[in-house]
């Protein structure tokens, strides 16, 4: 079974704070994704990447940066966190073809006070 590990599991910060969410996959997958999950909105794609050094913009990218440092590691950065970014964040990976399944991490619950 594919393994995607996120850290931290929970994070609390204040408005204007700087937050980095980490994700590591050990499946040699090409694609990695960051989603946020909110009631009434479902899962929305923030950023994704198809390899080290690559970054693609998702559907809700405002206020977020991301960086893919290696094939295994994908980071989501909130440089000036706002309360609207309070959410459950999921990282996922896939091999890459359009028909491939996504493997999700356990999620990071972020609260911005």
């Amino acid at each position: 079974e594919a393994a995607v590990t996120q850290s931290p599991r929970n994070k609390v910060t204040v408005t204007g704070g700087n937050v980095t969410l980490s994700c590591r996959q050990t499946n040699s997958h090409n694609y990695m994704y960051w989603y946020r999950q909110d009631t009434g909105h479902g899962l929305r794609l923030i950023h994704y990447s198809y390899g080290a050094g690559n970054l693609q913009i998702g559907d809700v990218p405002d206020g977020y940066k991301a960086t893919r440092t290696t094939q295994e590691d994908f980071f989501l950065l909130l440089e000036l966190a706002s309360p609207s970014q309070t959410s459950l964040y999921f990282c996922a990976s896939s091999e890459g073809a359009r028909s491939e399944r996504l493997f999700f991490g356990h999620g990071t619950k972020l609260s911005v006070l």
């Binding site: 994704y33 009434g40 479902g42 899962l43 994704y48 996504l102 356990h106």
Partner: protein, 113 residues
């Protein structure tokens, strides 16, 4: 553009009764891929079903769905709901260029004894 529309809100039903969750889509592509993901409480989403063949029924864990290009639908069905089917269900499809997966807003299912 590409989008997914699914049964909104909460679906409550009694154990043993059938369940159907609606999913329709819009796409510019002639050969769409459609997915159903399931997310149980305090877990991450995982793939339940996928299809890319018109009018072919796909089944897994008692659930089934058939992709109908004529009606742009991929409804999820089960003949007899179990308590363990209580979960959040997402319909999803690849959207636009690249390999990003677009999810619907999710349908929460609650199965009561």
């Amino acid at each position: 553009g590409d989008s997914v529309t699914q049964t909104e809100g909460l679906v409550t039903l009694t154990e043993g009764l059938p369940v159907m969750l609606n999913c329709t889509y819009q796409t510019i592509y002639s050969n769409p891929f459609l997915f159903w993901y399931v997310q149980h409480l305090n877990e991450s989403p995982r793939l339940l079903l996928k299809s890319f063949t018109d009018n072919k029924r796909t089944e897994h864990q008692g659930f089934h769905a058939t992709l109908h290009k004529s009606s742009s639908s991929f409804h999820l069905q089960k003949s007899s709901a179990q308590l363990s089917d209580s979960a959040l269900y997402y319909c999803a499809r690849p959207g636009g260029a690249g390999n990003k997966l677009t999810f619907g807003i999710g349908t929460r299912v609650l199965v009561r004894p």
